[in-house]
Symmetry: C2
Subunit: 354 residues, 2 copies
């Protein structure tokens, strides 16, 4: 048993199931709380399919991810699973209202480009309509503001629509890079919207990448809700505002990192993200996560400074990555640094595992 | 005093302020509820700036909207204010988590096109990144999948990037329509993200359109949250999941329709939308809204059938608008019917007012 495996073994002893449960209710003020469930009767694994509806396409997607991993590993690539964007937590079964997490998906989409540049094959598990690799550079630009009509020669009707390259800077260069990645089949996009979809697809991805062992990296940059309302506690119809003020009680989402590291992909190189708004608690939270889940690294960042400053925390090291103002003005991106740091650590990890 | 004004006068007597308030708290399970506020001490008007931060640009935007309305009215156009998309309700001051409403903004964006076709000038008050008139037709298509490189003549470096017109159907025609609208200055886009921004911008819009009297239409299609957490009750930092399950108590959002109809734009033609998931309560809710706010029409629709069936309810009439399967297959849109119905009703309203 090597060091990493021994660490994982120890982690099994941490009884985190106590986190998974307590008061469950979705109530208007006049309705009393339901009684407590026994927190020890549920495991993360059992709970997942019990409390979160399984998306119908999960097995099909799992097959695609497994084939993608094996094929690119055979061709000498490492494979990274990037999660990106926020999860949607419905408050009603026929959903009108939902809880969401602030996340444009910028970090995940940008990182995907640098992983591709470093020779990785990328599974991009992202929130529907969040930022996408390459295309992200033109988000927020109205498509129709960037196109112009060019009449066909000699008044023919074959009008061409061409891109105004001032409106979409570097579009020719970016388009070539995008098309090369697409042609090589190095990017496999998978979408989620709800928390349920995310959780089941992440589990499927972990199991699909398990066969390539330490050559798989998990780069868990998605902003996943910590809280949810179980389907059984949800009202079917839209909550009526005429019933008065709303009181919502939410359960805690099981931490997927725990079964991922212990059971689903025990040999993989796993990185989680920690976003806080209060810098004073950041490193403590990052260290605590590493101690709890026994994975390889935490990328810690503060909401206000996240584009110019992160700390990559491992059990033995702590690396501050900083962009200078001058670098930021040249459009250098911090994700370039994060990915360099982690791909190097991944190489070392593979050597140690071997 | 004409009939419409008399109706509005009566509406003033409805004491709805009782809706505006009650339990205010944002608590973890161990923290007791705060005491009740007196519901009668706050009015919608007073509450707005007290409880919802005023966006810094609201006066500037109000000026633009007022100038837009006067200018287009002088040119013989009627002006419609369309609200579109969902509102974001932050749960934390430095927002990581928020409550959102399901809404792509499709209905608002599509309706804007039909209003423009009917000769209206349109103020499009929409959620940031929700669907936009014309551009909406290509949402969900990856920009880079629809472009191709064309080499310059004779191997020159002046590469052109052109649109693959199979990937963006009708793009030349749509681009021409978009450019014509833009050139004529008939579309004024205004963006919101949070509920606070929406509420203040709607009030500003109502006041800005008031001078053109009955020539203004309000088409309130946005999915506005019924609930919010007052800034004073919000935690500054990200809620820590280690504190256990989350309990949220939300206050009711003041109904803007009431001061809009009574005070801000008392001569305008006002349409609200009612979306339900339960068809059995739909018409009752629509009639109740008309009785409460005394505005001109409610467009009532059910979540599952909203693209093919709506009922336009007025105090005296009820018109079912339905798309046949054959029409849907020809890409006829129900918004075409809704806008036809309402522009005709608006003409009649103007005549009666005159």
């Amino acid at each position: 048993m090597n060091v990493a495996n021994r660490r994982r073994h120890h982690a099994r002893q941490h009884p985190e199931v106590a986190r998974y449960l307590s008061i469950i209710s979705y109530v208007f003020p006049s309705v009393p709380f339901k009684s407590m469930a026994d927190p020890r009767t549920l495991t993360a694994e059992g709970k997942l399919s019990e409390e979160f509806a399984v998306p119908s396409h999960v097995e099909e997607v799992k097959g695609q991810m497994a084939a993608f991993a094996v094929q690119h590993r055979a061709a000498g690539h490492r494979v990274v699973l990037i999660t990106s964007g926020g999860t949607k937590v419905p408050l009603e079964s026929r959903t009108v209202r939902f809880l969401d997490n602030f996340s444009s998906g910028r970090r995940g989409a940008s990182s995907a480009e640098y992983f591709l540049e470093s020779g990785y094959a990328v599974i991009f598990l992202h929130r529907h309509r969040s930022l996408y690799p390459f295309t992200r550079l033109y988000s927020g630009i109205n498509l129709l503001d960037s196109l112009q009509l060019e009449s066909g020669k000699g008044g023919s009707v074959s009008d061409q629509v061409v891109v105004n390259q001032q409106a979409l800077p570097n579009i020719a260069k970016i388009l070539m890079r995008y098309q090369a990645v697409k042609k090589a089949g190095l990017l496999l996009p998978v979408e989620f919207s709800t928390l349920s979809e995310y959780l089941h697809l992440l589990k499927a991805a972990a199991q699909a990448l398990s066969p390539i062992g330490s050559n798989a990296m998990f780069y868990l940059a998605a902003a996943v809700s910590d809280f949810y309302i179980p389907a059984s506690d949800m009202p079917e119809h839209k909550i009526q505002s005429s019933n008065g003020p709303l009181q919502i009680s939410m359960k805690m989402v099981p931490k997927m990192l725990s079964p991922l590291v212990k059971d689903w992909a025990p040999q993989a190189f796993v990185i989680s993200f920690k976003l806080e708004t209060d810098p004073s608690i950041l490193l403590d939270r990052a260290r605590r996560a590493l101690a709890t889940y026994r994975h390889q690294a935490v990328v810690a960042n503060v909401l206000d400074t996240r584009r110019g400053y992160v700390v990559v925390v491992t059990p033995d090291t702590q690396a501050e990555l900083v962009l200078t103002d001058e670098e930021a003005s040249r459009d250098v991106e911090i994700e370039d640094r994060i990915v360099s740091n982690l791909t190097a650590a991944h190489s070392q990890f593979i050597t140690q595992q071997g």
